[in-house]
């Protein structure tokens, strides 16, 4: 396993210039992710239109893998329904943890994360944003019955 397979060009690019980085006002849902192992913190904000993720932005500090993963994730889930986004989470989870898993057919740029699998200590860096997204979507679902208030969830990978 070569280091270049972990730090692929797509990852390095998204680390240097993260997409959808910053705050979001107003937001329907917010979730915070924290990895106590390395101190990475991530705040994710979503705006929903009906059941679709209309806008999603993140901020925080993390390593290259965690920053690039969050950036790639925001690009990938924008415009997707809640169910589609959660299905993608499952595919990514498989991609990061199952030997031989391809993570589904249509991962696009997200496939660049497959190199992380060979570095077990770094899997949590790549998955933190996805767990945070799941928490945000869960929180959103929990409050959709009422008036669209901001939902806050927090997730920790340990």
């Amino acid at each position: 396993m070569e280091l270049d397979d972990l730090y692929r060009d797509v990852i390095l690019d998204h680390n240097r210039s993260p997409r959808n980085f910053g705050g979001l006002e107003p937001a329907d849902a917010r979730a915070e992710g924290f990895n106590p192992l390395c101190g990475d913190r991530l705040t994710l904000r979503l705006r929903m239109a009906h059941d679709k993720i209309e806008e999603i932005r993140f901020e925080g500090q993390g390593c290259a893998i965690s920053t690039a993963s969050a950036s790639l994730m925001t690009e990938a889930v924008k415009g997707k329904t809640r169910a589609q986004a959660l299905r993608l989470f499952e595919d990514i989870h498989a991609l990061l943890t199952d030997d031989g898993a391809t993570g589904g057919d249509d991962l696009g740029k997200l496939a660049a994360l497959s190199g992380v699998r060979e570095y077990p200590a770094r899997v949590k860096c790549a998955s933190l944003c996805w767990h945070t997204l799941a928490a945000a979507l869960g929180g959103h679902a929990a409050t959709t019955g009422a008036a669209p208030a901001a939902a806050v969830a927090s997730v920790s990978t340990e």
Partner: protein, 416 residues
């Protein structure tokens, strides 16, 4: 980066010969020779320790203090002779003052739950410093919660040093316990413990020193230090994991209630009343880590077989060389620049997260610790989420520091 010309070999210290004692140091990692620079987390073991544990496991294992048969007597003799050597190693007055525990964490918890819990009252204060390891913070928080006492934290300065006057000014009539690190695990700072202990003692304050990061680097003499308790772990001083020592002044230990109940710590048990055993067994309930204790005794033998002054001079030279080499890397900031440090450099690199650096260095065979080093308040103080930490042992070399620097250069090139 090559400063070979300025390196002076430390007289009386043959690092190549020392390295031959440590089998792990000759392995490769990802096709490169291992540079093990994570000694503050855990040091490697010399053959002397490996062989002592192996010999015990193969030939002498039985439960201790329980049997009249040969193996039990042999195991007991080996284990208790390790205690004797540990007592000499830190100059305890007697073997009764050496309590075997799982490690520094358990030692501090023992003092918190036995000594502190039975003596603290509402309004009393426990004083620690800002640079403590979580294991010298959380046990005190817990006992403060249980007793209504208050935890007071003495400040550090921008170099990661602990100004003695500032700590002493926080010692008052309410202060009942003062606990601090002998050496900071996150920064390498050597604290002015002798002065602090003296000031505490003169005010009737009970003192505990967390010696986890000190015993492998500095000579420790508990009588000279004057502390009431001194805690350390085996695996940071070339011994096994899962074993460590709580030193306590005998008078204090005698007065303290047992912490855990069970076998070994009793003299007589009936359902009406139990008579506790004497020291040190009163605090050693249950069958202990026998092979660990024996291995730790062997680690003491290993350390004391070396010329400690020469080993210390070598470690100081490593610290100087690493500080100079790393400081010259653009964007690298050393966190913790106290004038008196052990051989440890904590640092950040602009545009390179410590976690990425750790992975990239591992690719080069260089093992460092990255993260908050179980000292989150220290990270908060320096406003960094994490640092990378290279911590040196007496077997490390200048060439390994060059390889560390080369790896940092590679990481900068990749990520910035």
């Amino acid at each position: 980066m090559k400063n070979i010309a300025v390196i002076q070999d430390t007289p009386n210290f043959d690092v190549a010969a020392v390295r031959r004692h440590f089998p792990a140091l000759s392995r490769t990692v990802r096709g490169k020779p291992l540079s093990y620079l994570d000694n503050a987390a855990s040091a490697q073991r010399p053959l002397r320790v490996i062989n002592a544990v192996d010999d015990y496991e193969r030939h002498h294992h039985a439960n201790i203090h329980r049997g009249v048969h040969t193996l039990s007597q042999e195991a007991t003799a080996l284990y208790e002779s390790a205690r004797d050597r540990l007592a000499r190693f830190i100059n305890a007055r007697s073997r009764a003052e050496i309590i075997f525990v799982r490690g520094t964490t358990e030692a501090i918890n023992l003092v918190a739950q036995s000594f502190a819990r039975s003596s603290l009252k509402v309004g009393d204060e426990v004083l620690i410093t800002h640079l403590e390891h979580h294991s010298n913070i959380v046990p005190w928080q817990m006992v403060c919660e249980q007793t209504g006492a208050k935890l007071i934290v003495a400040p550090i300065d921008s170099r990661g040093d602990v100004p003695a006057d500032a700590v002493i000014s926080l010692m008052s009539q309410r202060t009942k316990i003062f606990a601090c690190a002998h050496v900071s695990n996150a920064l390498g700072t050597v604290l002015p413990v002798k002065r602090l202990v003296e000031a505490a003692k003169s005010r009737g304050i009970t003192t505990l020193l967390d010696g986890a990061q000190a015993v492998s680097h500095l000579p420790v003499d508990v009588q000279d230090l004057g502390c009431d308790f001194y805690a350390f772990s085996g695996h940071k001083m070339y011994g096994p994991t899962g074993v460590g020592v709580l030193y306590g002044r005998e008078q204090l230990l005698e007065r303290m209630p047992p912490w855990q109940g069970g076998g070994e710590m009793i003299l007589q048990v009936s359902f009406e009343k139990t008579t506790f055993n004497g020291l040190p067994n009163k605090f050693e309930a249950g069958t202990p880590n026998i092979s660990g204790g024996i291995g730790l005794g062997a680690a003491v033998d290993f350390i004391t077989s070396l010329d400690r002054d020469a080993a210390h001079a070598h470690e100081s030279a490593l610290l100087d060389y690493a500080t100079r080499t790393l400081s010259s890397i653009p964007g690298l900031v050393i966190v913790g620049t106290a004038p008196h440090k052990t051989s440890l450099v904590s640092f950040t690199v602009e545009h390179v997260h410590p976690h990425d650096l750790g992975t990239i260095l591992d690719e080069e065979g260089v093992a460092v610790r990255t993260g908050h080093h179980c000292a989150m308040p220290v990270m908060d103080y320096f406003k960094v989420p994490a640092t990378a930490r290279a911590s040196f042992a007496l077997y490390n070399t200048f060439e390994e520091i060059d390889r560390l620097a080369a790896g940092i250069h590679r990481a900068r090139k990749m990520l910035s």
